[in-house]
């Protein structure tokens, strides 16, 4: 299995992966608008949530830079012992699977509502999961290259749709600015922060990155890009649709694009936006699946994760269908008061256990008379 362990991706590819992963979910559902009640101040929520997400990403990724060639599952075993670490790893493995399932659900809901009202959800979810499972099977290198290929298309499309929105934006719809104080803005920023639940993938990917010590920096750059896009998207959506109708719709960004009409010929081009967006969703899904599989194989000391791909894809499809009865249930789950505690608990539990263990270990080693000197890896 030497070819698997030597798979390497560039930090740039990781940046693209994280940017695409985050942007796809965040702009399709625009949680700043739909989850809280920040209304016309959604853009401010987007900026606030950037700060929060960056802090969370640092908390998640920083310990990994101390162990550049180990995944969280492996360095956890060094820090708190085999069995506890394996049990703890399941928190992140569940997070990866859950993120993949929710991504899949959102994607299939978008397609079903927009294009295929008569098609069963499971069909679209299944096709997408099969494609992603194939990418996960091909390995992180292939996913990284896919991201390289998809990124320009994805980015250009989003940029173009935001630019196309400019002629129809009414800036008066963004007023009054911060009329109800800061509280709605802060509450509205919680849900986008919960989507940082995608970021723990770096704890599994980091050893496969060329410069693992810079992973946190790469992540922060990806978050910066994604939140700039989120800010622009919420400004454009509110500017075109108005705060109240936008907050009521299920997928405000796509509704905004549907409302754009440049000329006689260029109307209703949302299908052309949804295609690249689907490519982006594919990157996110395959990365989550890959990390879940890779992590699982390390927990059970398997030499290869590939035999698990099929079953995991099946579990992911099932979970995505049964996670919520309909999109409104999923949406109400993403309210700050439910999604907040859930996601923060999942995200922060492993670092909250491993950081004290790491610090205690270092302190023990520095103390004179400790058993071993030198750095343990």
């Amino acid at each position: 299995m030497s070819c698997i362990s030597t798979e390497k991706i560039d930090n740039r590819q990781l940046l693209f992966i994280l940017f695409i992963m985050r942007t796809t979910v965040i702009i399709s559902t625009l949680p700043v608008l739909t989850a809280g009640n920040a209304a016309q101040d959604a853009w401010a929520s987007a900026l606030v949530s950037y700060v929060g997400s960056a802090i969370l990403a640092t908390a998640i990724g920083a310990l990994g830079t101390r162990f550049p060639d180990l995944t969280l599952i492996q360095y956890g075993q060094k820090l708190i012992g085999r069995t506890p670490a394996k049990i703890l790893s399941f928190v992140y493995l569940w997070a990866f699977l859950w993120v993949a399932a929710v991504d899949l659900r959102i994607y299939s809901e978008v397609l079903v509502t927009a294009f295929f009202p008569a098609t069963p959800l499971v069909f679209i979810a299944g096709a997408m999961a099969v494609a992603s499972a194939y990418a996960a099977y091909a390995g992180i290198e292939a996913i990284g290259r896919n991201a390289d290929f998809v990124f320009p298309i994805f980015f250009m499309t989003i940029l173009a749709s935001l630019l196309a929105a400019i002629p129809q934006m009414r800036l008066t719809r963004l007023q009054p600015v911060l009329a109800r104080g800061l509280k709605p803005v802060l509450v509205g920023s919680i849900t986008p922060m919960t989507i940082t639940l995608q970021v723990p993938v770096i704890t599994v990917i980091a050893p496969s990155v060329l410069r693992p010590k810079k992973v946190v920096k790469t992540t922060i750059w990806a978050l910066t890009g994604a939140h700039l896009v989120l800010t622009a998207a919420s400004l454009a959506t509110v500017g075109v649709l108005g705060a109240k109708p936008a907050a009521r719709s299920v997928f405000p960004f796509f509704r905004m694009i549907r409302a754009i009409r440049l000329t006689e010929f260029l109307e209703r081009f949302e299908a052309l936006v949804i295609l690249p967006w689907g490519l982006g969703m594919f990157i996110g899904l395959s990365t989550s699946l890959y990390c879940c599989l890779k992590g699982l194989s390390q927990v059970f000391d398997l030499s290869d994760y590939r035999p698990l791909v099929g079953p995991m894809a099946a579990i992911c499809i099932t979970l995505s269908i049964h996670a919520a009865a309909d999109i409104f249930q999923l949406r109400s789950f993403f309210r700050p008061e439910t999604a907040g505690p859930y996601a923060f608990l999942l995200m922060l539990a492993p670092p909250a256990v491993l950081w004290p263990a790491y610090l205690a270990r270092r302190w023990m080693r520095k103390r004179p008379g400790s058993r071993k000197g030198g750095r343990q890896r």
């Binding site: 679209i124 494609a131 290198e141 290259r145 896919n146 290929f149």
Partner: protein, 271 residues
């Protein structure tokens, strides 16, 4: 296993010379006029000598056109079937009315129509290749003029489908290396099937699988989609467009690493 060519077969000395100068390897064997160039990739297979012989804007335009043509030869029939069956709203209303008016009275579903015409065309092409040169043109006359025209008049296929199939065929002829046109010829049918069952979502599904396949493919160790994926910004100077000769300072990173410098800086001619 792959449909895509992992070696490049050529008879042209200039192609071989250019490949050697990029640090690639040419394999000669007894008893064949062809040389095999390795490693190769999608980008190398879409380059043609004329891109370099013509002036820069023309060469770049031809190159970009060829990339576009490759995409067309792969997904145009599938996308047509998908749009006509599922996504009417993508077409301007007048155009869609024209298409449905032309389809009036055609007995087959669109997908069947497209597959029928594609198969017919593949047959004509194969027959034209196998026949002696003196009789070859007769096939194109029988095929294009008689069969195409008569099938429209007989109401078996709609004229739009003939246009689509002809466009696809022309696009697939523009591939500079024949072996690259073949996978597109085969995959086209898959894309028609996907487009006919789930519309553009099916096309996207096919493209995702194809993309993953191509990015995990290597030709003698070199990633097939380089320099796009993995992205090698320096090597993008000779891809979709080509830059000026005096700006191509470095050889491709993956093959020319032994002697990365192609020429000195500042070779730009002064006025």
């Amino acid at each position: 296993m792959t449909l895509f060519p992992l070696t490049e077969r050529t008879e042209k000395p200039d192609r071989v010379a250019a490949a050697l100068l990029e640090g690639r390897v040419a394999i000669f064997t007894d008893g064949t006029p062809f040389a095999l160039i390795v490693p190769t990739g999608l980008n190398a297979l879409l380059q043609a000598p004329d891109d370099y012989y013509e002036r820069l804007p023309i060469g770049s335009f031809l190159r970009a056109l060829r990339f576009f043509a490759f995409a067309v030869s792969l997904i145009l029939p599938g996308s047509y079937v998908a749009v006509v069956n599922f996504h009417h709203e993508l077409l301007p209303t007048v155009l869609f009315m024209r298409i449905s008016a032309a389809r009036e009275g055609v007995p087959f579903p669109t997908a069947f129509e497209v597959v029928l015409m594609e198969l017919l065309f593949e047959l004509l092409r194969e027959a034209g290749v196998r026949l002696p040169r003196a009789v070859g043109p007769a096939i194109s006359i029988v095929g294009a003029l008689i069969l195409g025209d008569a099938s429209i008049r007989a109401g078996i296929v709609s004229p739009v489908v003939v246009i689509i199939v002809a466009l696809t065929a022309i696009a697939s002829f523009s591939a500079p290396v024949f072996s690259l046109a073949i996978p597109a010829r085969l995959l086209r049918f898959l894309f028609v099937a996907l487009g006919a069952t789930v519309g553009l979502f099916g096309i996207q599904f096919g493209l995702l699988i194809l993309l993953t396949h191509l990015s995990s493919l290597r030709s003698f160790g070199q990633p097939y989609l380089a320099p796009f994926a993995p992205l090698i910004p320096r090597d993008l100077k000779d891809t979709l467009v080509r830059v000026w000769w005096w700006d191509m300072i470095a050889r491709p990173r993956l093959t020319g690493f032994r002697e990365p410098k192609r020429q000195d800086r500042g070779q730009r001619p002064r006025r």
